[in-house]
Subunit: 237 residues, 2 copies
Amino acid sequence: MGISGVGASGTGIGALDKVDRETMGARVYRDLRNLIMAGQVSPGDRLTIRTLAAALGTSMMPVRDAITRLAAEQALEVLPNRTVRVPIMTRARFEEVRTIRLMLEGHAVETAAAIVTDEALARIGALHEEFTAEHNTGDPDPAALIRINKDFHFRIYEAAAMPALLQIIEGLWLQIGPVLNFDLRSKSKRLSERVALHHHGDLLDALGRRDGPAARAALAGDIVSAGDFILRCGSLV
Amino acid sequence: MGISGVGASGTGIGALDKVDRETMGARVYRDLRNLIMAGQVSPGDRLTIRTLAAALGTSMMPVRDAITRLAAEQALEVLPNRTVRVPIMTRARFEEVRTIRLMLEGHAVETAAAIVTDEALARIGALHEEFTAEHNTGDPDPAALIRINKDFHFRIYEAAAMPALLQIIEGLWLQIGPVLNFDLRSKSKRLSERVALHHHGDLLDALGRRDGPAARAALAGDIVSAGDFILRCGSLV
DNA sequence: AGCCGCGATATGTTATCACAGTTCCAGCCC
DNA sequence: GGGCTGGAACTGTGATAACATATCGCGGCT
């Protein structure tokens, strides 16, 4: 690797590293993942490699990689025809995932409560305020709310310092991502957000008191109430 | 779909379906997965696509698919150099995975205890007897013991009827597969097997009594004792 | 003798192409 | 007119080749 090829802005040698150190496959993966997480694809939608490749301006290979990876993470589903689609969430599967989330994310917040630093706590509090502010505007942006909510939760989970657990939780969120946003985007969401705000506040307080059980209880309330809302929507088969 | 292309043995039309309905990528994936699960590759081993492709008699593409999938499941690890290797298990990571296993597999056996059928119980009991018999031979085959042990556990987990949970547990076993067998193959394993036998018996009894908490306790004993054995081996960095 | 630079080798990445199975629609026969 | 058949278009799979980068070793310079 030479110094030749000045590729970054700014002066100084230390400022020109990390030029496009990302493969196209990784970029496609990230794009598709964000698409799924944000619920901008609906359960049941079929994806074709060539179409995606054309839309993203690449060849089939990076798209193949990304789809293979997402399918391995259960974020996409391959039918016996070899075609891939966004998985359709059944009621049973949704409830099963919720049960697992209560265990795993419950353990994460309880662990986080024991060892969270004040700095992390401050960042989490800032996200909570951001979430509250966005909610108090006249017309909250659903995409922003979902992003802030995700950051709020995962900052707490990261504070548990359990990387393997964090990975599994991310996989679960990826699985429920489509249905989550699919409903939150359409239905009247005022009520569910109010209670989410309430649970988030309780969770933040419990973390501040380093009260693990209380934190777990608050998170459970958040997960259960949000899940009940989805279940009441009746859009699950 | 035409009738042309007689490809299966046996007479009658209905007997010729499902000829080679498996892609090469799936076969390579399964082979590599078994290799990892059986611990026939050691943590830190580097894998190259071309070498594997040559060894398996295919091109790079199916190998690429399989590796991408295994990397997504954390069964393989991609270094910043883009080279892939069998992940190196640290002590902290091993203990974290064990903690997660205690939660998830504990919940699985507790659920299974509530709804397990007599038929499933009989199959599980048969596996336990097979495990005992293999252990009582003068020279037990490590590979057979590991296979039977895995079947025993997963038959129980399947009885819980939680497919998403089962998938996650399989991922965890895939992660600890290498170190598990790596040690069990070399060190004196007589003691650990004895206690495994004991815990399996307790677990089976508890399932027969439909006693969920007892089943969870027996499984916890199995996981903790096996984990302690690995940790005492001192081969974890 | 030690260190730097350069090139050879190895390896992952991407593109392009050929092939097989599937889907879908038009046209034809009954 | 309806159902069946035929083919055309579509789509995933596998192979091969071109390319970029990383790794390692050799040779020359200091």
